[in-house]
């Protein structure tokens, strides 16, 4: 995948992001905290302008929570998020309204479920123009033109503006959601499983649309998904999450063709390949996807890892790119797989 990214100048920098949720037992008058859900545990990465970072993992790994925290839709427990040099958390907690609104325009999100992400009581026109109502950055006389322009951008028709969400198919609703996100002219969009609930033949439409928009508007994407095939299609770099931590981060080709972390290896081998000549040698992981409440000690993957040894049970591995530059992995035995 040809990259149009600005080398060396990240547009988004996430450092040591942590998000714990309290697990609480309710009494009649008191609430007692009995544990933590380690939803996001010390996650760091950066994204350059015009680049797509894929964030993959299974349920409970924290990828959706990470997305919400980056946009400050949830308050992080600790850590920082810098967008175009601005400290996101600080701005939302103590900054001016102007700055907060600016961030809301530059950073956007397309949500997972097209059947829930559009207000059923608003017309498409209202949904898309809500951005103008909130930000008041475009004179009212231009709203209709702008809405039509956005609809055309996502290959919908002008007459669709009068309709209600339930009159559209899943794929069309997702286009409306994309148009809404573009209405504020963002620079960075988080895409949370945008095609997972769509039919196969529609997925390609939406994926191609997203790729085209990225090129024409120089957008950066954080593409969150459990569907590895579509991640490969759209991402330049990929981060793999397990139980709240990033276990591997590298260029897409490296992750898919030569993964260094046992979890990544199992994950990729588990995906059915639409190719009859492909011999499936599935690495089957024992057990279940664990719960992020009180995760295992040391290396969190060791209970299911086919290569685990003593050190894995005692010491958490460092996340570093010692073996291959630019290819980060957290595993004591990664050198075996180079």
């Amino acid at each position: 995948m040809q990259t149009t990214a600005d080398e060396g100048r990240p547009i988004l920098e996430v450092s040591s992001l942590v998000e714990y949720f309290d697990v609480v037992e309710r009494g009649i008058f008191r609430k007692k905290k009995v544990g933590d859900v380690h939803a996001v545990d010390n996650v760091s990465f950066h994204i350059s302008g015009g680049e797509t970072l894929g964030l993959v993992g299974e349920s409970g790994c924290g990828k959706t929570t990470a997305g919400k925290v980056i946009l400050y839709l949830e308050k992080p427990t600790s850590g920082s998020v810098f967008f175009e040099g601005m400290n996101v958390v600080e701005t939302f907690e103590n900054g001016s309204q102007t700055d907060r609104k600016l961030l809301r325009r530059r950073m956007q999100m397309v949500f997972q479920n097209p059947y829930n992400s559009l207000d059923p009581r608003m017309t498409v026109y209202d949904i898309i123009s809500e951005a103008f109502v909130v930000h008041r950055n475009i004179p009212k006389s231009q709203w209709t033109d702008r809405v039509y322009e956005l609809l055309r951008m996502v290959n919908l028709e002008e007459y669709h503006a009068e309709r209600y969400p339930h009159e559209f198919s899943g794929g069309q609703r997702q286009r409306i959601a994309i148009a809404r996100a573009l209405a504020v002219d963002p620079k960075f969009v988080i895409l949370d499983e945008p095609v997972s609930s769509l039919d196969v033949s529609i997925r390609a439409q939406i994926l191609n649309l997203l790729i085209d928009l990225q090129r024409s508007k120089r957008l950066s994407y954080l593409y969150i998904s459990h569907d590895l095939s579509s991640v490969r299609q759209i991402s330049q770099r990929v981060a793999v999450m397990y139980l709240g931590e990033i276990v591997e981060l590298a260029r897409a080709e490296e992750i898919f063709d030569k993964p260094l972390h046992p979890y990544t290896q199992a994950l990729i081998s588990a995906v059915p390949v639409p190719d009859v000549d492909h011999k499936t040698t599935r690495i089957i992981l024992p057990g279940e996807v664990p719960s992020p409440i009180n995760p295992p000690q040391a290396c969190r993957f060791h209970p299911r890892c086919p290569h685990a040894t003593d050190i894995c049970r005692q010491m958490a591995p460092k996340f570093e790119d010692k073996l291959i530059e630019g290819h980060f992995v957290a595993c004591h035995h990664a050198d075996k797989f180079v």
């Binding site: 995948m1 299974e58 349920s59 198919s169 794929g171 069309q172 039919d199 196969v200 033949s201 529609i202 997925r203 390609a204 439409q205 994926l207 191609n208 459990h226 590895l228 095939s229 579509s230 490969r232 299609q233 897409a252 080709e253 898919f256 199992a266 994950l267 990729i268 081998s269 588990a270 995906v271 059915p272 390949v273 639409p274 190719d275 009859v276 000549d277 492909h278 499936t280 599935r282 089957i284 992981l285 057990g287 279940e288 996807v289």
Partner: protein
Amino acid sequence: MTDYLTPSTHDSVNELAHPLTEKLLEISHLRTYFFTEAGVVKALDGMSLEVNKGQAVGLVGESGSGKSVTAQSVLRIVPRPGRIVDGSIKFEGEDLLSKSDDDMRKLRGPKMAIVFQDPTTSLNPVFTVERQLTDILMLHRDLTKEAASKRALSLLEHVGIQEPEKRLKAYPHELSGGMKQRIAIARALSCEPVLLFADEPTTNLDVTIQAQVLELLKQLQKELNMTMVMITHDMGIIADMTERVTVLYAGKVMEVADTPTLFRSPKHPYTEALLKAVPSVKQTRALEVIPGNIPNLIEPPSGCVFNPRCKYAKDICMKQEPPLEKAEEGHYVACHFWRELKLEGRAG
């Protein structure tokens, strides 16, 4: 698979079986319609399918293709307002559509079973795991409660559940998705059916759990020499788990072939388009888009049901519905131009 028999020993979809090939299931021109307030939804509109004993067959299609309705029709559990209006379904040589409800009930379980997509809704939330299994065993196999419990335990072991004694007493909501699906599989297999429908069994599961369940199904199919119909939209699962595949679109059959043939040299534009639209973990390539949307089944397009989205469509495609014709041994296509078109498949 020891009983793999090539289907190329018979000429037409409806021909009498060659003595060596045992046709287990024969669906012919099946029409299942749903009579709703908004109109008649033609979920299946003239669908034919053949499955031989011991085969692993795939039924692939997107939403609205009718793949789930096919399984429901065979087991005659089509929900209201649906009804089978035409066609025939033959199982082990017997006509299923003329059977009474009682007779069908005797078949469901011991002869044929379905594993559904969502184990959360297909398992009864107020029964323990044990009860889910023993109920069926006592009904069909006439076992005592103790015998049924023992069998339930061994079934759980068979589907790879750890600590099965504990799990027997558990309720579905206490279990993970993967485990629930294993139990659903155990239940479907409890009376040792000859025919198993797996309706998107892994779609709701995590990737690594999906791998576990698919491996399990593969293994069980071999062991029990079971005939399995894998219903899915995932071409990867088709490639990995099936020998023969039928492509459905909007209630009609587009193409039928051996799986390798379908992937390497498809003869129907929809199949070609589907193969080109599917991304793969193994390579990055430009995805070709299928324009348009899945058609409205109340008023499907006239002529060939795929014509509005087909890049090769000509006049005749809008007027006349193409018949399902034999292109080669074991390879059938429903397209006016299968002879002329040179389509691309996915070579390795």
